[in-house]
C-alpha cells in the first residue's frame, strides 16, 4: 500500500515533469505559430471592439495588455500611480479609437504600443512641465498612412487621372469609364455597346496606355 502510494506520487511527478518538458519543446518549436495565433486572436478581439463594441472582447484585450502597459509605465514614469493612469488612459483610447486600427498595417500589439507611447509622451510632459497638452497623436498620427498622406495623394492622383480620362478619344473613354467607374465586366460592357469583347479589350488597352502616357508626362 505504502509502496503503491509512493509510486503513484513518483508517477505524478514524472508526468508533470514530462508535460513540462513537452511544453518547453513545444514552445521552442512552435513559438512562431504561437505568435501568429496570438496575433490573430488579438486582431479578432480588436475587430469585435471596433465593429460590435464588444465589452467582453475589450476585457480580454485589457487582460492581455494592462500588465505590459503598467510595467512600461513604471519604467518610464517611475511612479506606480502614474503607471496605472497610463493603463487607464491607453486602454480607454484603445476602446474609443478602435475604428482607426487597420489590421493590414500593423499588429495589434504594435498599435497598442503606439497608443501607449503617445499617451506616455503627453503624461511625461505633464509631469515635467505641468502642461495639459496632447501632442502625442500629432507627432505620431494614429491614422498614419491611412487617412493622411496616402489618401491625400491617392485623392490627388485620382483627380488628375479623372481629368485625363476626359481627354481620351470618345470610344476609349467610354470603355475606361465603363470598366473602372461603373465597374462593369468586359462582357457586360461589350453587350451594352453591342461590340465584340475583343474590341472592348483593345480599346481598353489603348486607353490605358494613353493614360499612362499622360501620367508619366505629368509627373516628369
Amino acid at each position: 500500500m505504502e509502496n503503491f502510494q509512493s509510486q503513484s506520487v513518483q508517477n505524478r511527478y514524472d508526468k508533470s515533469m514530462l508535460s513540462k518538458n513537452t511544453k518547453v519543446i513545444d514552445t521552442a518549436m512552435k513559438s512562431d505559430d504561437t505568435d501568429k495565433n496570438e496575433a490573430q486572436y488579438l486582431a479578432q478581439l480588436m475587430e469585435q471592439v471596433a465593429n460590435q463594441r464588444s465589452k467582453a472582447a475589450f476585457a480580454k484585450l485589457f487582460a492581455h495588455f494592462s500588465p505590459k502597459i503598467r510595467a512600461f509605465g513604471v519604467q518610464r514614469l517611475s511612479q506606480q500611480g502614474l503607471a496605472m493612469d497610463l493603463v487607464q488612459e491607453t486602454m480607454t483610447r484603445v476602446w474609443t479609437k478602435a475604428h482607426l486600427y487597420n489590421a493590414d498595417k500593423a499588429a495589434v500589439s504594435t498599435w497598442v504600443f503606439t497608443v501607449m507611447r503617445n499617451q506616455c509622451f503627453d503624461m511625461l510632459r505633464k509631469v515635467q512641465n505641468n502642461r495639459e497638452d496632447a501632442f502625442g497623436d500629432d507627432i505620431w498620427p494614429l491614422f498614419e498612412s491611412d487617412e493622411s498622406d496616402e489618401t491625400d495623394n491617392d485623392f490627388k492622383l485620382s483627380a488628375t487621372l479623372l481629368k485625363h480620362v476626359d481627354d481620351l478619344p470618345p470610344l476609349q473613354k467610354q470603355v475606361v469609364q465603363g470598366i473602372y467607374m461603373q465597374e462593369l465586366t468586359q462582357q457586360e460592357l461589350a453587350d451594352k455597346l453591342k461590340v465584340p469583347i475583343g474590341t472592348v479589350k483593345s480599346r481598353l488597352r489603348l486607353g490605358l496606355e494613353k493614360l499612362k502616357g499622360f501620367m508619366e508626362k505629368h509627373y516628369d
Binding site: K68, R76, S78, T96, T110, T114, R117, D138
Partner: protein, 233 residues
Amino acid sequence: MIKYHPNQDLLTLHAKGELPLSLSIAVSAHCELCPECAEKVAALTIASSEESFSLAQLSTDNGNMDEVLDTDLEALLADMMSDDTLESAAINLLPAEDTAPTRAVTNIKGQDYTLPWAFRQQINNQWQGIGKVSRLRLETGEAKARASLLHIAENGEIPQHSHKGEELTLLLAGEFSDEYNTYTAGDFMVLNSEHEHSPKTIEGCLCYTVVDAPLYFTKGISKLLNPIGELIY
C-alpha cells in the same frame, strides 16, 4: 532629393517616444517628407513595441507583489466597465465630424504654407522679423531648447548667430545653398558651432530650427527627467 537624414539614434529614440517635444516635431516632420525614414521608424516602432512588451512579461512573472497589483488592474477594469465610463469616454474623445483635425497653415509675406502634422497645435505665436528674415517662436515648454519656424524671403541670407552647442535645421519648403551644397525640402541638418557657412536662398525658404544644448541631441526625455533613469539604462 533629400540628402540629409536624422541618424539611427534619433530615429530610435523617436520611435520609443523618448525625445523632447522640440526634436520629436523635427523627426516627425522629416518623416512626413521622407518615406525612407518613415519606413525606418515604422520598423523601429515594431522593434521597440516587442522590446517593451516582452520586458514587461519578465517583470510580471516573478514576485508576489504582482498579486496585489493584479487586484489593482482587476479593479481598474471593473471600474472602466461599469458606470458607462467607456461610453462617455467615447463621446468625449471622438472629435465631431466637422472638427476633424487638419494640418496647420501659416501665412508669411503673402504666402501660405501647409505644415506637417506635428505642427498642428504649435503655431500659436505671431511671425516677427525685420527685412527678409522672419521668425515664429514655438512654445515647447523646454527650458533649454529654442524652437522656431524661420522664414527667409527670396534672395535672402540666413543670419549667422553664435551659440554653443548644436543647431538643428529642417528645411520645410523652398531651397537654400551654401558653399558646399544645395538643400531641398526635407533635408535634416545638425550643425555645431564649428560649422561655419553662409547659406543663401534664391527662391526663399521655410525652416524649422531648434537651438539647443548638445545634451538634448543625445539623450532621451526620460533620462533628462529622471536622474535614476541614468542608472537603469
